[in-house]
Subunit: 422 residues, 2 copies
Amino acid sequence: VAVPEGSDFPLENLPYGVADDGHVVVAIGDHALDLAALAAVDAYDGDGDGPDVPGDVWTSGSLNAFMGLGPDAWAATRRRITGVLTGAPEPAALRPRHGLRLRLPFEVADYVDFYASQHHAANMGRILRPDSPSLPPAWRHLPIGYHGRSASIVVSGEAIPRPRGLVPGDDGVPRRIPTRRLDVEVEVGFVVGVGSTRGTTIATGAAHDHVFGAVLVNDWSARDVQAFEYVPLGPFLGKSFATSISPWVVPLAALAPYWVAGPVQDPEPARYLASPEPRSLDLHLELALNGQVVSRTNARELYWSMHQQLAHCTANGAPSRTGDLFASGAVSGADPGSFGSLMELTWGGRRPLTLPDGTTRTFLADGDTATISGWCGGGGRPRVGFGSVAGTITPAPVYERTSTPETGVEVRSYPPDQTGGE
Amino acid sequence: VAVPEGSDFPLENLPYGVADDGHVVVAIGDHALDLAALAAVDAYDGDGDGPDVPGDVWTSGSLNAFMGLGPDAWAATRRRITGVLTGAPEPAALRPRHGLRLRLPFEVADYVDFYASQHHAANMGRILRPDSPSLPPAWRHLPIGYHGRSASIVVSGEAIPRPRGLVPGDDGVPRRIPTRRLDVEVEVGFVVGVGSTRGTTIATGAAHDHVFGAVLVNDWSARDVQAFEYVPLGPFLGKSFATSISPWVVPLAALAPYWVAGPVQDPEPARYLASPEPRSLDLHLELALNGQVVSRTNARELYWSMHQQLAHCTANGAPSRTGDLFASGAVSGADPGSFGSLMELTWGGRRPLTLPDGTTRTFLADGDTATISGWCGGGGRPRVGFGSVAGTITPAPVYERTSTPETGVEVRSYPPDQTGGE
């Protein structure tokens, strides 16, 4: 199978997705290999090279069944796919990626969002809490995180309606308005394949036996809503309206060559957070607004690693499950051009960005498309790309006060010109 | 079917549970009616009295399939069960409740825990943040809440291993130790039957079309772990190790006679939080340690109602799903004998409780059993009881540093006498 120069999806990558017919597919260059069709046509399962994968895994509509089979099945499947793609003849199960519609690739069990970038956490502290130390007291001791809303995770391409929320006006009175500070967070997320039972922990050194792969994440945020609500229990409606992920899950096996030493951790973390090295993923990340790049950063900047995040999540004996998603929080570098949110790029909205097309932005406008791209390698090494995660902001919904008998959902009316005062 | 005097489960109640064989059962007095057996023996589905319920709903191992059918199916099923239990002969599908093992009654989709009791929130503020106003700035304007870990929700009776977590020592250095401040929270939780799609909202007045029923909740909390980690993203490992719920889900239909006027809300909430009245559930709650009652409170004390919690949760267009659990947060009254947590009952651990057996407690000791009971009515009105949710604290696990090939879970060794310093 020919792979165009510079493709995100060479033979070294082989990320998994789910097509709109529920079939599991693997990206290769400009094509996608349909594993369901492959299994049907060439007795894919029965070659003795590793554990068998039941055929219905490939038509189940999500990656969860496959991810739950564990590292031996993942490795065997990767070997088989590589064999099919490098052998002759070209497999009949290939279809063009152009026009292929991809679903949310897995059913999300629990979703945890961390705050793992030191530059991001310190920037947010300086912007929001200028009279306090820039990092929260516990920040260097543990990877701070919170649980997000699993139901709100959507695949790249889904529209993002501007959410409404309670925001204090100039008179101090909170009113329900469409957010005026709609932001992105450029993140990388890891997906659990093999979970752990309640009462057990996952050591940092065992993370690779549990984590199936990685995706790009855009943790959309309504900063004004979040600012009003978050004390003392953390973000809620300011985050829960939508989180977008990329449709291709890049397996850890493809990322193996790209781990690098992480930032020095000082003070030395508690023993349960001691991590194998290298622990940081050298993953280039780019944020574009309407196709114009506004930030270039790298996941290697993250202070707390994938291994440490997963170990922390389970350090109290909390169970993990197939489909758990744990995301990094916004990835920011030291340089202003490498910040992972508009909050930081515009320093709390005080320094508007001027885009190459001459328009300016503090936060997202209706109609804006935010796109995060990511890739490892390049520059002479194989490019293992994540593709992208994109979303377009649509105007805040105008609800009508009606009740549909089928769902019982009563929705309320907002005349389009009356966006305040609810 | 004879129902003993004072039973939690008279004909007016008919709560649903799931037996260990996966069958849906309904409690009646000292018995449980097996709906799977009932459907099989008397063509339960086909009487034309409301929507048919597919028979496999009753053997599906959870209430989700039934809850997702919606209010008409819930009402028709309730009529049928009432008919069977009041008719002759006594149905063959009855089994004694004694010895019946019950599963987690539903698969939890997203779990949100609120902070809806004014007395609880103010007490926590006074204890933990004595130099700040007792209520957080937004508290009277919206029901503050956060997402918890769905995977950690367990049914009454499951053991609660004492979790470990990072806690600063007297020298200020955080060490991973078994929590020393293991607490309960006496809560009521509501379960979503019919969800809502992303971009729509559920009005307060429509809550009854979406909520299937209610359970008792014990939101176990490690206060020392929580205190260190919670700024600025809220509770995480201090809560995520376990949350227990009662095995019987009391349907809203059974609770209908017990709604009462709620506390006056001042300032008047935003319009989307305006609630139909009566909005508060007159639900008596009791907390017992090792069988000795230490607190008596009532869910009618809650400032923010079920309707307001659900409306708030979806006010930004966040979707909801069958199996969503939203809990109240600890229910505390004004009187010290009506506080819903040990944190409040012992005022931050500074005033130990003396139990009737002469022992004292600040927080939970290994071996302690905490039991929350709840009921509506009594005193001449039908008693619609929730049964109870109980859990026994077991010592912090002693992990060994081993790796099991099957799961890849590496766990670490703590000599039993060396509980500090990880």
